[in-house]
Symmetry: C2
Subunit: 434 residues, 2 copies
């Protein structure tokens, strides 16, 4: 680290982080040590308010943008661009307490530790520091997922996103208003983004790796499907006259799972986990079923192959069940590498601090997946224990791994603030050139 | 008909019935000539209020019992038991306008015509007349179906039924209260029950039969199923670690349909039309799916055979998907004949009035299915056109068939009031013996 001897944080610093993590996990807590903090619910609002107060009481300037992202700014170099750190405080229903929330709290603590390090060493920072809680990363209450970072990066339209409604017809705008969760803040120029997250898979835990340098995303495709049949009496209608949308949907769900037989074990993942039936009545054959097919793979080519198998299956099912099956929307994320310089920076920090480390792929989407499209982005993982289960109250990462991650993340953040990521300097040059 | 020359109703009487039918079909009407009047919704309440007023203005005494059945009494022989006529005004979502509602309105008009016939002829009735709108026959908002007649006949417990909640957590008691739909009425002794209904199948229309004498119900079995898996991340979790409740449910739905391959065409009907997924979120493998399997057949033996195939399929699916699949409730309706004397009474009335007629099975359940367990019951069908479709806005019966049904029903009702159904006389003897 240029001109700065890293000072290992005291056990009191680690204890303060873990204490804050326990406090934060109390908001929207569930019976089995999990949390239920769907976006812009009261539980999400309480967590955001607590987090904003934590930032303010530690000298951050706190503000919110029009899509409800909560920013905390720590000015170190007046006028300079910012290193942005963050993740999300919202959760899936009956979810674990680590997913997203760990990264948000780690961002705050890493910033404060970095400020102390710099003050103690007298080293001159190149950039300022900011943290962010991205609104609605999970996408369970309001679709799509990664909403806050999607609007921030320009992938999503603000007005359209604010008008999106949940299953009860409540809009994003109304829900954010109800938790006092909107502002007019325009964030300053960002030189780089960094995020630490739990792996949500088992590869690191299986290999006893403490720090993961996220090297690439998996490819993912999501298809919005509607199966249309016709309502009729589920007891009286002749079987050969039925056009059962739920039977058609069930066959698609089975077919999507059967796709995997065409590929090597675990090379492709597929899922359908959300489904709406109309009229969903016990004595009336379903007229319409809507659901989302989620297929992911290491390589885009495998997804193209899976899609052609899927299309053949759908044509067969349409004929068998006398239903129509339409794809009414599709989202495609090509697999994409993270910056090699960021991976190397993280690796060398982990090495210096004595933690086992390895490159790791992310199968899950993250706000960093959005951010890497617009700024130099560095992503770190800590292991998920319990077979890597996530989106489940059993989700678990040990205190030791949480602290290890925070230590490496702090080291990375300090180096980012010092301008050690070459790609971050282009923003500085651009702003200097103006 | 003993001592009474049947007077063909005037075309003005028929027009009055059809006018009332059009007015009634306006409550909860939908864009495509259907109705949406789920039990105890405002649309159901409006229909009930209109019907009660129709009865009152025609001299009926109207009252409601504690489960919200609406009774209208027409006393002809003070102190005598009653012939009860009825069906249901509630509907499935986006349903046809004939299912149930036709029978309720026909009950009122047949009663009035019978009163006139008796007055004109001077014939002495044996019994009184009452009509009923049975609460919640459809069972879509509140389960089970045939709720009002179920409580009336003692098959369902009143307190437990009143406490049943809909998907929004509203109880039957609260919903009935909201439409002013409860009373304390205790109905008088019933000597016989009769109901006219649309077939909801195509057999009569295919055979050009105008009047169906319902001779037996199909056997039906309904199994409440819960599939339990485990929540996890739908992208990141290894496929071999998943316990996907929705995949398990989909395989059961396909298996229930595949059961039919073991039987002759159309000898067995099966359906799953209502399904609840938890947490029903796009990036979280479902932990639990609940649904109802509905299997019906001409003979109970076929259902026992289907059930053993189903159990084998469920055991296979549990192993394939690493989920548990439990049957948490079952309802069994054995096929049961209607009274031969009632079938013969209807046949001779149809013959006398010159309408084609035939015996017909009912595949659908009806309030008459409950009533036949406690009193002599006579059930009539009129044809369903449009391939017999029902629980659909396309449901259709022609005015000509509606009027034909009303004419025969009136003839049957008059004969019932005159004591021509031998089995009805036992009630009279019982009450005389007291």
């Amino acid at each position: 680290m240029t001109g700065l001897e890293f000072v290992r944080p005291s056990s009191a610093d680690d204890a303060a982080f873990l204490d804050d993590f326990v406090t934060m996990s109390g908001f929207g807590s569930t019976d089995n040590h999990g949390v239920d903090r769907q976006a812009a619910t009261p539980a999400d609002g309480q967590t955001r308010d607590w987090f904003a107060e934590l930032l303010r009481s530690n000298g951050f300037t706190v503000d919110m943008d029009p899509i409800g992202n909560v920013f905390g700014l720590l000015e170190l170099v007046p006028g300079a661009p910012y290193i942005l750190l963050g993740s999300h405080l919202d959760s899936q229903p009956l979810a674990g307490r680590f997913d997203g929330a760990y990264g948000v709290l780690a961002a705050a603590h890493a910033s404060l530790r970095t400020r102390e390090q710099l003050a103690a060493s007298g080293a001159a920072p190149t950039f300022n520091l900011a943290v962010v809680d991205w609104f609605n990363e999970e996408g369970c209450r309001f679709k799509p997922s990664m909403m806050g970072s999607g609007v921030f990066t320009g992938l999503l339209d603000l007005e359209k996103t604010l008008a999106t409604v949940d299953a009860q017809g409540v809009s994003v705008a109304e829900a954010l208003h109800a938790i006092n969760g909107v502002g007019t803040f325009t964030p300053p120029p960002i030189a780089a983004y960094s995020e630490i997250h739990i792996e949500q898979g088992r590869s690191m835990d299986d290999a006893n790796t403490t720090i993961g340098m996220v090297s690439s995303t998996w490819s993912a495709r999501k298809y919005e499907i509607v199966v249309r049949g016709e309502q009729s009496h589920s007891g009286a209608t002749r079987m050969k006259d039925r056009r059962d949308a739920l039977l058609g949907a069930a066959k698609v769900i089975v077919a999507v799972n059967d796709l995997l037989a065409h590929f090597d074990d675990e090379a492709v993942h597929s899922s359908i986990s959300e489904l709406y039936v109309a009229p969903n009545s016990p004595v009336t054959v379903a007229r319409e079923v809507r659901f989302l097919i989620d297929i992911r793979a290491r390589e885009s080519g495998l997804l193209a192959e899976a899609y052609s198998h899927l299309q053949a299956a759908i044509a067969r099912i349409e004929a068998e069940c006398r239903v129509s099956i339409d794809e009414i929307g599709a989202s495609i994320w090509e697999s994409g590498p993270f910056l090699e310089s960021g991976i190397e920076l993280t690796r060398s920090s982990a090495e210096l601090l004595g933690y086992s480390n390895d490159r790791v792929l992310t199968l899950a989407g993250h706000d960093a997946t959005n951010m890497k499209e617009i700024v130099p982005t560095v992503m770190l993982f800590v292991p998920s224990a319990a077979d890597g289960i996530s989106h489940n109250e059993r989700e678990f990462t040990s205190d030791e791994d949480l602290v290890a991650g925070l230590n490496v993340f702090t080291h990375v953040v300090t180096r980012l603030v010092l301008g050690e990521l070459p790609e971050s300097l282009s923003i500085l040059e651009a702003s200097a050139a103006v």
